[in-house]
């Protein structure tokens, strides 16, 4: 006989304000099989759990239903509670009467009636639950970090320092990411390379870290604790183990017209190149689009001059396959394309630049050796106008709906640095709002205004146009309520940032979800901000949402803590809700194995009694519970109805359907 206990939670007023919890609990007392029904303010609290434990013991309950918040919130909590009272943790069902009921309905009668149906549905299901035992699977003590920007670097260093092996897979020829392109960094104005390069070197020298640059993740199989990842190592045409980074090839290469992406295409580089002086690894790479030898078969000069014989025009992409227990995604961002923003004249005027281009124009290792010169004629700009929120906070659909978060601060930084270095330069900033929350941030911005005399104009810019070689910036000044036109020599656009586009592929491979803006989604916005909903996958840096370096580093370290917490375990509990065939019905047709994305199903020959003391050997499906992820695809495919899913059996789901439809 089933002895079901029902526990209805008020969740303070979250549920009780719209659901008559007492009425629900009372109504459940009349449900067949229910021997105990109670309500309590906070079921998840210590006292609430105590109440459940006591009831399980006193009433000898065989199953419980908790009517509370989403099972995604507290299912695990209540399973533990049940287990502590000696009940199998899988004899617990949650009726979601908060997210799916009290929070979305306003009418008390309606919400109460729905809550009763939801709890009744859970009761119908729990009656068909069977005790399940979680299995165990081993944890591979190695982590993969995808993306070698500051986020990936920090996460890798922290994980490696705890003693675990880490691989960084970086698509570019060097690690470092966007931070390597920056000149000085807010809020302290230390030089970006000076604080980044030592960390890059630490990575390279760390015995636990393996850096795979010019590489991309091609395929991912497996699950938390046990991922198998195929990595494509793109042909570099240079043997990484031989190249010493002497740069002779760069000098000798006759094809020097490739755009220098590291310098935001503001100058050119040879076909064979090292992205920047501090690149890790300090190894050349050939751009096949531009290499004369690779395109026409002629040339081959670099090979002749390379003293160590590192050049290999025959090199092909290779693949490595490695196993990991955990994966950190740190794929970062790019500034948006400005094609939709013609009004700012970015495509028509060389002297309209983005902020990231300005970083290169101010950087000592940049195309102008750190002297601020305008791209068109190489002259010193005397009047510089910044335009904020280009494509950020844009509800028109051309740009991004979100705030890019970093632009107010870096524009203040740029304005300040320019005024510091070139005091005779006039600097104007058009802004919608200045948003500078953060430790020492508002103080930083005020310094730009008060100490450096930067002219902040509240208002939007209507257009930027060229008149007799001058850039005319036409906008509104909302404080003085007037139209202004500023004759400028250089215009800097604080372009919105967006996730690096390749993150879509990465997300698909990892089955990690992504939001409408292509940012990776965290498991819980507040309580699990660095975990993706896919177990074993963690998120660091701008791929999860706009953030600056301090926040990126904090998040990366948080990720590392989570990864370490996972890798120190020897075994993980596996989900016992796996598929199982009813062997008496299975005819070994193979259909289930064909749909299983994990290869969890194999076939075995088994002996069955067929009566009269005889036996027969038949081929039947066999599910490996450590590999099955419990999706249920096979259960629906099975033509003989032999395959079922524990915890979500056909009978259980049918009983839920019935309970909902019962009039």
């Amino acid at each position: 006989m089933q002895r079901i206990g029902v526990f209805i939670c008020w969740c303070g007023s979250n549920i009780s304000a719209t659901v008559d919890v007492v009425k629900v609990a009372e109504a459940m007392k009349n449900e067949p099989g229910v021997v105990y029904s109670a309500n309590y303010q906070y079921m998840c609290s210590e006292n609430g759990q105590q109440l459940i434990k006591q009831a399980i013991k006193e009433h000898n309950l065989t199953g419980i239903v908790v009517g509370a918040c989403s099972p995604r919130m507290h299912e695990a909590t209540f399973r533990k509670t049940a287990e502590a009272a000696g009940l199998n943790p899988y004899m617990v069902e949650i009726a979601n009467i908060r997210e799916h009921c009290s929070w979305i309905h306003k009418d008390m009668d309606e919400a109460t009636e729905k809550a009763i149906i939801l709890v009744r549905t859970a009761i119908a299901k729990v009656k068909l639950n069977a005790p399940l035992m979680a299995g165990e699977s081993p944890v591979i003590k190695r982590a993969l970090v995808i993306g070698g920007g500051i986020a990936g670097i920090q996460a890798a260093l922290d994980i490696a320092d705890a003693g675990f092996e880490v691989d960084i897979v970086e698509k570019n020829a060097t690690i470092g990411g966007r931070m390597a392109q920056l000149d000085k960094t807010f809020p302290t104005l230390d030089c970006s390379a000076c604080i980044l390069t030592p960390k890059m070197v630490d990575c390279a020298q760390h015995e636990k870290i393996d850096i795979l640059t010019y590489s991309e993740v091609e395929d991912v199989k497996g699950f938390v604790g046990n991922f198998s990842v195929k990595i494509r190592r793109k042909a570099r045409y240079v043997d990484e183990s031989k190249c010493t980074g002497c740069k002779v090839c760069m000098e000798k290469c006759p094809s020097k017209k490739g755009l220098n992406a590291f310098n935001m295409n503001l100058n050119t580089r040879p076909a064979i190149y090292i992205p920047f002086a501090q690149a890790i690894p300090n190894v050349a790479v050939i751009d096949p689009e531009q290499c004369i030898k690779l395109k026409t078969g002629k040339c081959g000069i670099c090979q002749k001059f390379c003293g160590v014989g590192a050049i290999d025009y025959e090199q092909k992409d290779t693949f490595v396959e490695r196993q990991y227990g955990a994966i950190v995604v740190a794929t970062g961002y790019k500034p948006i394309d400005l094609d939709a923003f013609n009004e700012y004249g970015y495509n028509d005027n060389k002297d309209v630049v983005t902020s990231l281009e300005l970083e290169r124009l101010m950087n000592a290792a940049g195309p102008t050796n750190g002297v601020l010169l305008r791209p068109s004629d190489g002259k010193h700009p005397k009047v510089i106008t910044f335009i904020q929120c280009v494509g950020s906070r844009d509800s028109s659909g051309c740009g991004k709906p979100y705030c890019s978060k970093i632009c107010c601060m870096y524009t203040a930084k740029h304005a300040m640095l320019i005024r510091e270095k070139y005091p005779d330069t006039e600097v104007h900033v058009f802004y919608i709002d200045v948003r500078t929350p953060g430790k020492n941030y508002d103080e930083f911005f005020r310094r730009a205004v008060e100490q450096y005399g930067v002219d902040y104009i509240k208002g939007m810019v209507g257009k930027v146009y060229n008149e007799n070689g001058k850039l005319m910036v036409q906008g509104s000044n909302l404080i003085d309520n007037e139209q202004v036109t500023i004759e400028s020599d250089l215009v800097v656009l604080a372009a919105a940032i967006e996730p690096e586009p390749s993150v879509r592929k990465v997300a698909t491979l990892l089955t990690a979800s992504i939001d409408t803006n292509n940012f990776l989604t965290e498991s819980h916005a507040k309580l699990r901000p660095v975990e993706s909903p896919t177990a074993g996958v963690y998120l660091a840096g701008v791929c999860q949402g706009p953030k600056d370096i301090p926040e990126t580093v904090s998040q990366a370290s948080a990720c590392a803590a989570k990864v370490i917490g996972l890798l120190v375990k020897d075994k993980l509990k596996t989900n016992p809700c796996v598929a199982t065939p009813d062997e008496s019905m299975c005819n070994g047709c193979s259909q289930c194995a064909n749909v299983c994305a994990y290869g969890a199903i194999t076939y075995v020959d088994k002996e069955f009694r067929i009566g009269g003391g005889k036996t027969e050997v038949r081929r039947v499906a066999s599910v490996n519970p450590a590999v099955c992820q419990g999706c249920g695809a096979c259960t629906v495919t099975c033509p003989s109805g032999a395959m079922d899913l524990k915890g979500f059996s056909s009978k259980q789901i049918m009983s839920e359907v019935e309970a909902i439809c019962k009039k």
Partner: protein, 151 residues
Amino acid sequence: MQEVTTEKKEFVPNIVAFCCNWCSYAGADLAGSSRLTYPANVKIIRVPCSCRVNPSFVLKAFQQGADGVILCGCHPGDCHYVTGNYYTRRRMALLYSFLNYLGIEKERTRLEWVSAAEGARFSAVMNDFVKTVTDLGENKRLTDLRVKEGE
């Protein structure tokens, strides 16, 4: 404000929603925590993946008197189980033609992709579906069968 009509004749459809655990159920949770309303006659059954939904569950729901059945899963390409939602899509296409054969309006079933981040979309989809089914009226066709069966 206008008084709600006292006539109790207004048809309120009963709707079963199957939601996959990873995307759509989480999307429904987000609709809840964002307080985005949809009618109370939608009741959700949690399944690990949309591909766990056997078309027979949908038929069962109609037979038991549901007026509409909606399936929600992760967007194509984003399935937590890699390819589950593609199976669902194919199975549902078959189910539609079967329902058509039975004379049940195709609009009473629907397959929608709702991600964990799309609380607003979840609520919009549910509002729209409820409206569609309300306009169609009561599902008499299969409930009749059920009644006959019960005789």
